[in-house]
Amino acid sequence: MNDKALPRPVEARALHPLTSLTLMLLAVVAGAALPETALVLAVYLSLLVPLAALAHRLREFLRTCLRVLWPFVVSLVLIQGFFTPGPSVLFRLGPFSYTLEGLGVALLFSARLLVGLGAATLLTMITRPDALMRALVERGLPNQIAYIVVTTLQIVPTFQARARAILDAQRSRGLETEGPITTRIRALAPLVSPLILSSLMEIEERAIALEARAFTRAGPRTSLVTLTDTRLQSAARWCMLLLGLAAVAVRLTVWRAL
């Protein structure tokens, strides 16, 4: 049906999925709480980059971050520069003036975005979604939600393959899909509606298949994968949680004006 499946994330055996999750959440919270661009960047460089290197995924990690980040940086630098008022004007463009303060804000936002993006990217690289969900189910997350998350991640490539198949099928029937914008808009309905309809029809069979695999059965379940957790990791998670809370508290009090 499709040749492109989601590549399997490398198993980071050393870290319990919840430890990775907490670590990444801490990075995001710290990035959002710290008031200086340099400090936010320090979180990225001292926490996320070394972890990516440890997981042997550094190049991929940096490439993904940069590729997603740069359009945001460009628009932030342009817009914030002109729209943030301030005394130090760098240059003027007609009635608009570009301020140093604006540039500063743009860079701070970019750095925060980089940390958030990096944390999310790294999490997907060092943790298998099913392991993470398993860990969350063990702690009370409903099985159904875990299923939805994991399945959605796996089904995306299939969905893309189907979209391509529909595109080809409609083209072979003479549908114009290229050219001026009006033509493209007109082509949208015959492309999107079969995609949605076929997916809806599939749901019925998927529901039966899940029932057939005892998904809705009441009673205890077992798991092929055992997650290894250690006291050290558990303690580290609590510390990180406290650290994150502290960062929020400081942000709301001491650094309030920044």
């Binding site: 298998r128 059965r217 092929l224």
Partner: protein, 278 residues
Amino acid sequence: MIVVSGLRFRYAGTHRDALHAIDLAVGTGELVGVVGANGAGKSSLCYTLSGYIPHFYTGSIEGDVLVAGHDVRRTPVSEMVSDVGLVFQNPFNQISGARYTVLEEVAFGLENLGVEQAELRPRAMDALRATGLENLADRSPFTLSGGEQQRLAIAAVMAMRPKVLVLDEPTSQLDPAGTRSIFEVLQRLAREGKTTIVLTEHKLGWLAAFVDRLVVLHAGQLVADGPPRDVLSQALEQPWGVGATRYTRAAQAAVQRKILSAAAPLPVTLEQALESLR
């Protein structure tokens, strides 16, 4: 193991019985083939035996359906599932998507059944070996071919070791070699005596060679039930749309051209054809 009496079912919102006055009894360890034209009610029968009718597909139902000791009308599917397994046609939609490898996919059903952890891997591997997928255990289920996915769907339900296994056209995407291996697995399962199997199939040649008993559905009614040879020669005279195996057709042509005597019953398998030529 299966007792169906006076079953009538009509899907909600339709005006015709999908199944009508069905009586069927299947003993433990029997391997029964169900044939019939498209729309004859084969899938509906499969869904009824596994409880999806009337709990998932609703409608009006009459009669009694007892499968593996469960009164289907009163037992929710989530309870039936530990004793009755269902494999249906489209293999792609039977992949749960909740697991990353073929092995994990097979183990998924076992995890949900609460099978002991030490048992999970051996049982899943057994099912993979039986279906010839052991070399693909670490692959993503989504990268498999249609035929491999179909075998995976069968392995996933087989691993759950149901007392009754219901398969709705389980070999539709398989080549002859794949079809043979599935029929051999099913025959072995049935011969071991613990599993009762009902399967619908259009490939008459395979059915004739492998099943003990053939049942014909026509317009929602059970019109024939017996050994494949009797049923298939009976089907030649009837408007059931069942067709005939190549051996039966050849023998029929031979009878018409007076090469074979019309006295003997028509063969349905290669073995029988060779015998009638003697």
